[in-house]
């Protein structure tokens, strides 16, 4: 008791000396923190995780995906594919309004997609919408997309904030990116890059009243400092990347950790255009020599799940059914010998420093595992931009990567494993079977048949091993226990902050 009193007194004294006091949570403003800030406000150009998380609170796409990755309404209340799969119609919510009070109409939808498709915009998501041959707007609340070929995954692609509907008038004025004007639950009142964002509730939001009056997002670059700020109740809600910090959250009585497996996957990318990874048996030997669970346990404290290529829960195959997912060093050595590399070989593996935070540790575990079959790995860690530059050029023997996932396997992988894929140069692997499976999956509308097509795709991909899929990790958010209503999802979206309340 004496000890407690002394500790309390010394705390109060210290607070008085420093001129600080614990900050109590304001009734209706959610104080949030993250370590990396948004990098811009143009929803069609931004791809950074934090940018997407911020922009999906301000802008809305036609549809969304929910926590179980099902398509649900956003600006559109209903939608339908034509029988031949070449027409996709949407009915817009008559209540949907932009934050300046003007209604969201079919003209805004048309203008938004034309902007995305215009090469001058530089929209990264354009590649997902190339099947759009024309857009009709029979009335203010109806939009019809005419597709050049059946394209089932396009609906999922439209759920992304990169396909957000922006006001046609703002496109004409050229102010997209300098001013944030969406139809989402919050308005952006202030953005001080790399320091702070202030959002206030959009009273006209078609989705109803938000649970809080506003959100203040602070950029605290060090996640240990975010945790410290949560301990002192300065922060109500935070996004965390580092599993080392996230695992400390449950130790704090007043805090709650939300974690959910995400669609993004940790992977060792081999470069099948470089010798000896050109040899199927060498790639398979590497796959057999890697103990994925050990990589997960060591690099990420077991915070995740071993995965095959498909990370979408409804479509993923049990990894134990995939090629060499149980480590088999003897088989690996045999495959190496058959490929003419019984004595092993040397290669370099690249990784981005801190992106993900586990990259260096993953490379080290893999280095020691592959040493057992004579593969000598030289680890080269790089600043993220330098890494991205090398990665985009396909200039690596092997690369440790954390690649983003999508709610649809076609959108997720067509960039790598189809002959026309934009990132073919990164994958450096052309396979007729994979290409044809992707095309079948794109056109197939029957869910069960689609599932079977992608199960075969996954099995084949794991067997030919151009990459070695390792694990999916968790997306972490931490919150004070008096915050209610947040629903974590595999896409990592923070959209449910729109319904969060402070008790």
């Amino acid at each position: 008791m004496v000890h407690l009193t002394r500790r309390l007194l010394s705390g109060i004294t210290l607070a008085a000396i420093l001129g600080i006091a614990t900050v109590s949570t304001q009734a209706a403003t959610l104080h949030m923190a993250w370590s990396q800030d948004a990098t811009g406000l143009d929803p069609h150009k931004q791809t950074a995780f934090s940018s997407l998380r911020l922009l999906e609170l301000i802008y809305e796409p036609l549809v969304r995906v929910d926590a179980s990755l099902q398509i649900v309404p956003a600006i559109a209340t209903s939608w339908a594919f034509s029988k031949d799969g070449k027409e996709l119609s949407f009915k817009l919510d008559p209540k949907a309004k932009f934050q300046d009070g003007t209604a969201v109409t079919s003209a805004d939808v048309k203008a938004s997609f034309e902007r995305i498709l215009d090469e001058k915009t530089g929209a990264a998501a354009r590649a997902n919408f190339l099947s759009i041959a024309g857009i009709d707007t029979p009335d203010a609340a109806t939009v019809v997309f005419h597709l050049s070929q059946p394209d089932v995954p396009i609906l999922t692609a439209m759920s992304d904030v990169n396909a957000a509907i922006v006001p046609a008038a703002e496109i004409t004025a050229g102010s997209i990116g300098t001013k944030a004007m969406g139809s989402g639950p919050f308005k952006l009142d202030k953005w001080d890059p790399n320091a702070k964002e202030v959002l206030s509730a959009n009273k006209d939001w078609a989705g109803g009243a938000t649970g809080v009056d506003g959100i203040e997002i602070s950029v605290l670059p060090d996640e240990a400092a975010i945790l410290a700020a949560m301990r002192t109740k300065q922060i109500d809600f935070a996004l965390l990347n580092d599993p080392l910090v996230a695992t400390l959250v449950p130790k704090e009585a007043s805090l709650q950790l939300n974690r959910v497996p995400v669609l993004a996957y940790h992977v060792l990318q081999l470069n099948p255009s470089r010798k000896p990874m050109t040899e199927l048996k060498v790639r398979q030997a590497i796959s057999c020599a890697i103990d994925r669970q050990e990589v997960l346990d060591t690099a990420s404290l077991g915070e995740g799940k071993v995965t095959g290529p498909l990370t979408i829960p409804a479509l993923a195959t049990d990894p134990s059914q995939l090629f060499c997912y149980k480590r088999d060093v003897e088989k690996a050595k045999k495959l190496m010998a058959e490929a003419g590399f019984a004595d092993g070989f040397s290669a370099t593996v690249i990784g981005a420093t801190g992106e993900p935070p586990t990259a260096a540790a993953e490379a080290q575990v893999i280095q020691s595992q592959l040493a057992e079959i004579g593969v000598k790995l030289d680890i080269k860690m790089m600043e993220l931009n330098v890494y991205v530059d090398a990665w985009l050029k396909g200039d690596f023997d092997m690369a440790i990567a954390l690649n983003g996932g999508r709610a649809d396997p076609y959108t997720m992988y067509n960039r790598y494993w189809t002959k026309a894929g934009n990132l073919q140069k990164v994958a450096n692997y052309i396979d007729d079977t994979l290409d044809s499976q992707m095309q079948q999956g794109r056109a197939e509308t029957d869910p069960e048949k689609r599932k079977a097509i992608f199960a075969d795709f996954e099995k084949h991909l794991a067997e030919v091993s151009p990459w070695i899929w390792l694990y999916t990790s968790y997306s972490y958010t931490a919150q004070q226990k008096n915050i209610a209503g947040f629903v974590p999802t595999p896409t990592g979206t923070l959209f449910s902050l729109s319904k969060v309340t402070i008790q």
Binding site: N194, S218, V219, L220, P221, R231, N385, V388
Partner: protein, 319 residues
């Protein structure tokens, strides 16, 4: 006066050299503003999309044209526009600078207030237990990385006492002095700890040198008190190396204390430059480096002038 003018006349030349170095160096780093913005998704762009974005970021022209435009703009007081902030570079820098200046000054005050007395004490108690104690603490101070000390302070305060300065939004001195001080005092202590350690070591060794000089012995033999010998005779001469060290250290701090600013989430120059490099905000990196170089030159000049004030025998610029 002549010396001052001559030194000032070299500034444009030095800044021109710095401008070329920073312009070339930032462009030699692989990656560009497009990959910084889009990451690996940049691979999905068509050549026409890439060209459009390059024009948007102002990196579509050959480097010498880009340089000429930039340097020509500076001649007219225009440092360019930051693509991250969407505002003039100079505005962004000047908004961040007061914090950095304040933090540097506070750290220096702490360093000198702690380091000078400790160094003098150690020198006057040479090889005694208290000297040993000061040297050990100074050694620890110099070898403890600021991120360790910073995180230790933050952890101890938050986990042990449940208090922490408000993080996130920074309060400028003129708006809320008390809150401003509360936000800066811990970072200043974190920075000042290592700085004080260096000052202690330099002050101790300079005092030891001076105390063994003939004029100090003469002063003692004339019957001057120990206090007078130290403060009136020895200290002014021992200050010269301390001024040199403090000047250089202060110059560095004016460039921003990246790690401390990161840990305490302070929007200072250091964090701004780091973010600008990571986001390949070329105009901001270039403008900030020029600004920092200019500050460094001013501090160096002031240090040189301080020598004259401390030791009238020094005549700057004379052959």
């Amino acid at each position: 006066m002549n010396y001052l003018l001559r030194r000032l006349a070299t500034f444009p030349l030095v800044l021109l050299g710095v401008s070329i170095l920073v312009f070339v160096a930032i462009r030699m780093v692989p990656g560009d503003s497009i990959t910084a913005m889009l990451g690996t998704e940049a691979g999905l762009l068509t050549p026409a999309q890439r060209d459009a974005l390059a024009a948007y970021f102002g990196i579509d022209q050959p480097w010498f044209i880009q340089y000429w435009r930039w340097i020509g703009g500076i001649a007219h007081g225009n440092f360019g526009i930051s693509v991250t902030y969407g505002r003039p570079v100079l505005d962004v820098i000047l908004e961040r600078f007061p914090l950095t200046l304040e933090l540097a000054l506070l750290s220096m005050i702490i360093a000198l207030a702690v380091g000078m007395p400790a160094g003098i004490h150690a020198a006057t108690h040479n090889e005694k237990p208290s000297d040993l104690g000061v040297r050990i603490v100074a050694m620890i101070g110099q070898s403890t990385p600021s991120f360790v000390l910073g995180l230790l302070i933050i952890y101890t305060l938050s986990a042990g006492f449940g208090v922490l300065p408000a993080m996130g939004e920074f309060a400028p001195l003129w708006q809320d002095p008390l809150r401003n001080l509360s936000q800066l005092i811990l970072p200043a202590i974190t920075l000042g700890f290592a700085f004080a350690a260096s000052v202690t070591r330099i002050a101790r060794s300079a005092m030891l040198d001076v105390l063994s000089d003939d004029y100090v012995r003469t002063a003692r033999s004339k019957g001057a008190s120990a206090r007078s010998v130290i403060w009136r005779h020895a200290l002014p001469n021992a200050l010269i190396p301390v001024v040199t060290l403090s000047g250089i250290e202060f110059g560095y701090l004016l460039g921003g204390a990246v790690i401390v600013e990161q840990i305490y989430a302070l929007p200072g120059l250091g964090r701004m430059v780091l973010d600008a490099i990571l986001q390949r905000d070329y105009a901001l990196v270039q403008g900030a480096v020029l600004f920092i170089a200019f500050n460094f030159m001013i501090v160096n000049l002031l240090v040189d002038l301080a020598y004259v004030a401390l030791d009238p025998r020094i005549r700057l610029g004379e052959q």
